[in-house]
Structure formats: structure tokens, C-alpha cells
């Protein structure tokens, strides 16, 4: 039996935690909790309609569960759903368990009808006949004069391109993760910089970084202008793209040839490494160590002039209620004013399972389920539902028309949305689907502080090149007629 004092302490802690408000990325235009109440609504039963399984990221107990339950209930009680003979059963899974859960379901005959996944891997699932052809569904809508999407208008081209397999679209982008440069306006002003000085090239970025990096009398770093390789800048492919290069040569149909081992890329890596804050790596590590120990994001501390990050940092900054002004700008072009202002977008997609590939279903039932999933997909992208999702989602959603409507004049969100047009997804390489993680592993040798054991850029790139060739050989040896072989 617990002591009364322990019970009281636990109760007080629970009350305090429940009372903490959570910060939404996009401030909602409507107070949905007030409009419908914050209680979790009872789930409307499906009766004799076809029950479609929807995997999402808001399990019961999550702050967003009530909203998702309302969204699903509203669809289930609509005439359209009733006429279509379908209803939705939501299945919320917490973020960290979600990915293995959905992959396991896809591996067996229990795949959900509608689910989120990683956009850049949608071609793998399309190739393996898991996904419903959305271009065909759109075509059918147009023939039957049913209100439907305008893919080109509704979504960003680079995301649609990633969702395309053999000229048809098999997934729709759900989120839009965009990487921008956050800058500390207070530190900028102290260095005599204004918004007029926002860099558009790497050379300008490097110069400003130098102006903002300061040391104390003992030589320890007090302020860091920018470490381009920290935060979301650690994703090297982003720098390669913005420098105007591509680590892969695509021959189409999933065939890729690694293109890492180029002297221009090594030169580029060394150029980024020459940013003022990185010259003395042990001092840089010492600077970052203080945040590692406390768990604080370095930019939130107010000691970093610029940092590459996603919309997640904006939420963190508001939660921390920082006492400095900040802004964002697009990642600039590569050195010598070449290249593109590219940023890596690691977005989620929303996908529909093709029920004609599900065992034990008649073609009629499979078709009914597919049409029902498609109907629900259109419903999810409606303005009202997107607005509700913004009240619970920690990321920007991908429908660009609604995005413009919902973010109003929020300066940071406008800056983030401005950069979406420059986002690109990484290539899905069949024999190395996590090549970016492999690259990050190999870059570990380049990031070693001790210059005696550190690997030069040329060696790292050669190792990466050889690793990709080895992976292709291994994959195609076991998979002679495999995709991309």
C-alpha cells in the first residue's frame, strides 16, 4: 500500500502535467476544443459498412487523439461515406513504434487501407504492388465529373515527382519538412548586420559566420556564428545538391550509379569545413558539449548566430519563450554563386493500399474499399480537415493551397513556406535505401577531432563510393533481375 504522501505527490505531478499547454506549430484559426469540446468523442460504429483501417500517429491518450477522433467521426457520419458503403477505423500508434508496425502490417496480409509513410520510399512500395494508383483514381473522377484533386496545383512539384512511379502517382505528400537557416537577430544587430545582409551565397554566409563568432580571453568560444555541419546541416547530401552536384547518376527504372568520388565534392566539403567556427574543432566540440550535457538546442541558448533546422526548431523556440528575436532565410546557393538554394525535405506521405492485392477479397469488394479509401483521402485534404490537423501536427502539411490560407502572416511560417519550393527528397536507391545514413556513417571519419586520425574528404568519398558499389554488387548478386540491377 503506497503512503498517502506518495499518492499526493503523484496526483499533484499529474495535475501540473495535464495543465501544461502544448505549443502548436501553426496557431489554429479556430479554437477547435472550444467549438467541439475537448472531451474525446465516442467512436461511431461502422455497422455493416466496409471498415477501412487508417493508421495514424495519434494514439489514445495523445493530445491529438480527440481531434483525430472527431475528424474520423465526421467522415463516418457523412452522406458520402454512407453512400460509398465505407467507414473508417482509426488506429493510432505512437511515432517511435509506428514505422515498424506499419512495415510489419505491409509484410503480412493485414496492411492498413490508409497510412502514413516516408515519401521517398513510396516507389519501393509501388514497385512491390502495395499501393493504389492515384493517377488512375483521379482519372476516374474526371471521367465521372466528381470533384477531385488538381495534383499539379495542390502539391509542390518536387514532392509529386518523388511520389511518381512509372509516370503515375502512387502517394501524396502529407507533410513538408523544410530546412532553413534560423538567425539570431540580436546577435546580428550587435555585429552591425541587418536583414539587408541576409546571404544568398555560401561565401556571404561564411563571411557573416566569421563576424558572429567570438572568443573570450581564454580562447573558449563564446558565440558561434554558424557550424554548417551541425543541426540539420549534418545531412551532407544537402550541401552537395546546393553546390550543383548530385551523388547519384540515375539511368531510370531504379538504376543508379554512385557518383560520390569527385574532387569537386571533396573541395566542397573542405570549403564548408573552413567556416570560421570549425577551424579549431576541439573548441567547437567544447562549445557544443555544454548543450549536450544540458540537452538544450544550441540555437535556443542564444549563443549561436545561425543554425540550419526545420520547423521543429520554431516550436522549440516558442516553448522555450526565448528572449531574443529570430528569423529564417532560405539556404543559399553554393560557392562561387553556382548551384541552387536546395534543402533536403524528409517528408511523410499518405498512401492507400491496393485492396486488389489483398487475399480473400472479391474484385467488387476490393474496388469498393479502394474507392472508399480514395474518398477519405480527398476528405483529409479538405481545408477544414487540414485546419484541424494543423492544430495537432508538429510539421507543415503539404497542400500548398491550404498552407497559404492557414499560416496567415506568421513571419517564420512564411519564411519556411518560401523555402518549400527549393526542397527536394533524396533518391530511393533500391540497393541502398538508407544511403544517406551510410554517408553520415562514413562522414564520421571526416568529423574526427584529432587531425592524426581524421580522414580527409577524398578518402571519405572514395570509401563511400566503394561502399555503394559493394552494396549494389551484393544486392544484384542475390537479386539478379531485381529492381535497379
Amino acid at each position: 500500500m503506497k503512503k498517502p504522501s506518495q499518492i499526493l505527490a503523484l496526483s499533484l505531478l499529474s495535475t501540473v502535467l495535464a495543465g501544461c499547454s502544448w505549443i502548436r506549430l501553426v496557431p489554429p484559426q479556430v479554437d477547435w476544443d472550444n467549438q467541439w469540446g475537448s472531451e474525446v468523442p465516442a467512436i461511431i460504429p461502422c455497422d455493416d459498412r466496409q471498415e477501412l483501417n487508417f493508421y495514424h500517429l495519434f494514439p489514445r491518450g495523445d493530445a491529438g487523439f480527440a481531434t483525430i477522433a472527431r475528424i474520423i467521426n465526421a467522415f463516418n457520419s457523412s452522406d458520402e461515406a454512407s453512400d460509398a458503403g465505407v467507414c473508417i477505423k482509426g488506429n493510432g500508434v505512437n511515432f517511435w513504434d509506428y514505422w515498424s508496425r506499419v512495415d510489419n502490417a505491409l509484410s503480412t496480409n493485414t496492411a492498413p487501407d490508409i497510412f502514413l509513410h516516408q515519401l521517398d520510399e513510396s516507389s519501393f512500395r509501388a514497385k512491390n504492388n502495395q499501393l493504389l494508383n492515384l493517377s488512375a483514381m483521379l482519372e476516374q473522377d474526371l471521367v465521372e465529373a466528381i470533384p477531385t484533386f488538381d495534383f499539379a496545383e495542390d502539391f509542390y512539384p518536387s514532392q509529386l515527382q518523388t511520389a511518381t512511379f512509372e509516370d503515375d502517382i502512387y502517394a501524396l505528400p502529407w507533410s513538408t519538412t523544410v530546412r532553413v537557416v534560423y538567425y539570431n537577430k540580436n546577435l546580428w544587430n550587435a555585429a552591425g548586420l541587418t536583414e539587408e545582409d541576409i546571404p544568398t551565397t555560401w561565401d556571404e554566409l561564411k563571411n557573416i559566420s566569421g563576424l558572429l563568432t567570438t572568443f573570450n580571453q581564454d580562447g573558449a568560444m563564446v558565440h558561434l556564428g554558424m557550424d554548417p555541419y551541425s543541426g540539420e546541416g549534418q545531412h551532407i547530401q544537402q550541401w552537395i545538391w546546393s553546390g550543383g552536384y548530385n551523388p547519384w547518376i540515375s539511368q531510370g527504372d531504379g538504376k543508379f550509379t554512385p557518383n560520390f568520388n569527385r574532387p569537386e565534392i571533396a573541395e566542397l566539403m573542405n570549403y564548408i569545413d573552413s567556416f570560421p567556427g570549425r577551424v579549431d574543432r576541439s573548441k567547437l566540440q567544447q562549445f557544443f558539449s555544454q548543450f549536450q550535457v544540458t540537452g538544450m538546442d544550441p540555437f535556443v541558448s542564444g549563443k549561436v548566430g545561425m543554425q540550419i533546422s526545420t520547423e521543429g526548431l520554431y516550436t522549440t523556440l516558442r516553448q522555450a519563450n526565448v528572449d531574443f528575436d529570430y528569423g529564417v532565410f532560405t539556404l543559399p546557393k553554393g560557392p562561387n554563386n553556382q548551384g541552387n538554394p536546395v534543402n533536403w525535405s524528409s517528408s511523410f506521405s499518405i498512401e492507400l493500399f491496393d485492396n486488389t492485392n489483398r487475399n480473400n477479397l472479391t474484385p467488387q469488394v476490393a474496388n469498393l474499399r479502394n474507392r472508399g479509401s480514395w474518398l477519405f483521402l480527398k476528405y483529409l485534404f479538405s481545408l477544414e480537415v487540414q485546419a484541424q490537423f494543423y492544430s495537432i501536427a508538429p510539421f507543415l502539411l503539404s497542400h500548398r493551397g491550404h498552407l497559404a490560407t492557414l499560416i496567415n502572416d506568421d513571419e517564420i511560417l512564411l519564411g519556411l513556406s518560401e523555402s518549400i519550393q527549393y526542397s527536394r527528397e533524396k533518391e530511393y536507391v533500391p540497393f541502398a535505401p538508407k544511403w544517406h545514413s551510410d554517408f553520415f556513417q562514413e562522414m564520421g571519419g571526416f568529423f574526427i577531432i584529432d587531425p592524426n586520425t581524421r580522414r580527409p574528404a577524398t578518402e571519405v568519398l572514395l570509401r563511400m563510393q566503394n561502399l555503394m558499389i559493394q552494396k549494389k554488387t551484393q544486392y544484384c548478386t542475390a537479386n539478379v533481375n531485381g529492381w535497379g540491377c
Binding site: Q286, I448, Q474, T477, A478
Partner: protein, 309 residues
């Protein structure tokens, strides 16, 4: 019904008592047997089959024979790197863990006040989750502000980059094993408690020093427990994954990239379940070989109380 007619009766075979007992035994053991077959034997068999296939988890496995094994052993430098790291870990972590466990057990066997509290303190780290432990040790190992380097600094020792130096990172993860020495110590403590006290009394009368008593009495008498701990520690060391995944991501420069990590990357991240299964069977075979050798040599150094050796 005709009262005069005799009804045909079905004569059931009469089970002998012995057969009844056998059936009853199986009935009681059936829950475990069912679980063993369902969750061990069948997955083992499936995994052997998958290791001979190309299987991306979405389509049916495609038989490729020994292709996965031959590529692993002949053409995969990452496999050999990961295996080398794992062997390094096993060779150093096993004796370190055992020696530490014995030392702690000797300390906990001492007749001091508050021994129960000390035993609890030594065992507490074993009930902490591996993830929480890993995050804590990332902090302790911090090169610039970690407590370990702070402590070394008191003696004038320069800061060590525990997790950022490829020459040191594996040692750091082995040293972390000290944190979990409680359970090893518990086993050895039980073994030490089982040593007949008369042996020490006779040794004391004969004037044998404490050190000699340890090497001549304590150590030989706990060799059976040492054998058990050697085997279980080697098995655990081969499965090294969680700490590297959380603390170092296999780096720096793949210095802490173990076989378990490679298996995870191939099976889960790259969806090459056939290749990953082949890795697991090579690991299994290696562990089996090592344990076989240990068992074979154990006759020479393991003493069982009551045996004729």
C-alpha cells in the same frame, strides 16, 4: 429396448499407469512446449530458410542458395569490420566482467554492517533500462564536461574523448559494463556462499594466507559458476547493439559498429531479411563453436563439488 439383448459395449484401451504419467507430464509441460515450438523452433527454421533467400519482406522469398553466405564471407568488408569489433568486445568484455564480478562478490561477502544495503546498491543499475543508462553515460563520458574527465583532471590526466575517438570508443563501452556487474556478482556471491566453511578453517589452521585461500579454495570451488558466467557473458557480448545504437550510432568511423548493428541495418533498415538472416546464422555458428571449445576444455579446469576430479 429389448431387456434381454446385451448392448454392444465399446471397450476403451486401458492405459497403463506409466503411460498415464507420461501423458500427464506432457500435458503439464505443453504450455512451455507450445511456446518453445511457436517462438523458438519455428522462427529458427524460418530464419534458416530466409538466409537462403532474397527476401524484402513485401514479396515472397526467392531462393538463392548460399549466395548470401558466400558474399558475406568473401566480399563484404563491412561484415568483417563489424565482426572484428564484436570479437574485440567479446575478448575484452568477458574477462573484465568476470573479474569485476568476482571482486564485487568478495566485497559483498565481507562481514560488514549494512551489507544488505550495499548489495542493493550494487544491484540497482541492473534494473535501470538500457536506454536510460546509455543516455546517462553519454553525459558521463562527455569530453569537456563529463564527470569522468573531471575526476581524471584532479590527478592531472588530460581529457579523453571517450566516445569521439575511434581508438577509445570500444574500450569506453566495455568500461560501461562495470555498471552492470551487479548481476554477475550476485551469481558469484551465491557460489561463494556455497563453499564449505570447513575448508577455510583447515586452511587457517594450516597458516595459509588469505590470498592463497582465495586462489586455492575460493577460485577452484566456484569454477562451475565461472563456466556458466563465461558462456552467458560471451553470448551477451556477441549481441552487443543497444548501447552502440544509442550512444555512438556505430561511430566514430564505424569503430563501434557491431555485428548486431549490421544485422539490424540490413534486416530492418534496408529490408534485406535474407542477408540479415545469414548474418545471424554466422553469428550463431561462431558462438556455438566458441561454447563447444569452452565446454571441451572445461573438464581440465572446472571442479564440481562431489565429483572425483
Amino acid at each position: 429396448m429389448d431387456g434381454g439383448a446385451k448392448m454392444a459395449t465399446l471397450k476403451l484401451p486401458v492405459l497403463k499407469r506409466k503411460h498415464k504419467e507420461i501423458l500427464l507430464g506432457y500435458a503439464f509441460a505443453s504450455p512451455w512446449l507450445i511456446g518453445f515450438f511457436a517462438f523458438t523452433i519455428i522462427p529458427l527454421g524460418t530464419s534458416i530458410y530466409y538466409s537462403l533467400t532474397n527476401y524484402n519482406t513485401l514479396n515472397q522469398p526467392e531462393f538463392v542458395g548460399l549466395s548470401n553466405y558466400s558474399f558475406l564471407l568473401l566480399n563484404d568488408p563491412i561484415f568483417w569490420k563489424a565482426l572484428g569489433n564484436t570479437i574485440f568486445h567479446v575478448v575484452l568484455a568477458t574477462p573484465f566482467s568476470l573479474v569485476l564480478g568476482i571482486l564485487v562478490a568478495l566485497v559483498l561477502n565481507a562481514p560488514v554492517k549494512g551489507l544488505g544495503i550495499w548489495r542493493t546498491i550494487f544491484y540497482l543499475p541492473n534494473v535501470v533500462s538500457a536506454v536510460a543508462m546509455a543516455l546517462l553515460w553519454v553525459w558521463l563520458f562527455n569530453k569537456d564536461y563529463g564527470l569522468i574527465n573531471e575526476f581524471l583532471g584532479v590527478f592531472g590526466i588530460e581529457s579523453i574523448n571517450w566516445l569521439g575517438d575511434p581508438n577509445v570508443v570500444k574500450i569506453s563501452l566495455i568500461l560501461m559494463g562495470a555498471w552492470g556487474s551487479g548481476i554477475t556478482a550476485l551469481f558469484f556471491l551465491g557460489a561463494i556462499k556455497g563453499i564449505p566453511k570447513e575448508l577455510y578453517e583447515v586452511a587457517a589452521i594450516a597458516g595459509t594466507s588469505k590470498t592463497n585461500q582465495f586462489f586455492k579454495i575460493t577460485l577452484p570451488m566456484i569454477t562451475s559458476t565461472i563456466l556458466f558466467m563465461v558462456i552467458t557473458t560471451i553470448i551477451g557480448a556477441f549481441q552487443m547493439f543497444t548501447l552502440a545504437y544509442i550512444m555512438t550510432s556505430g561511430g566514430p568511423d564505424r569503430a563501434s559498429y557491431y555485428l548486431g548493428y549490421y544485422l539490424y541495418d540490413k534486416g530492418i533498415m534496408e529490408k534485406q531479411m535474407g542477408y540479415a538472416s545469414a548474418i545471424s546464422w554466422i553469428m550463431f555458428s561462431l558462438v556455438l563453436l566458441i561454447i563447444y571449445v569452452i565446454f571441451k576444455t572445461s573438464k581440465k579446469w572446472v571442479f564440481y563439488l562431489g565429483s572425483n576430479s
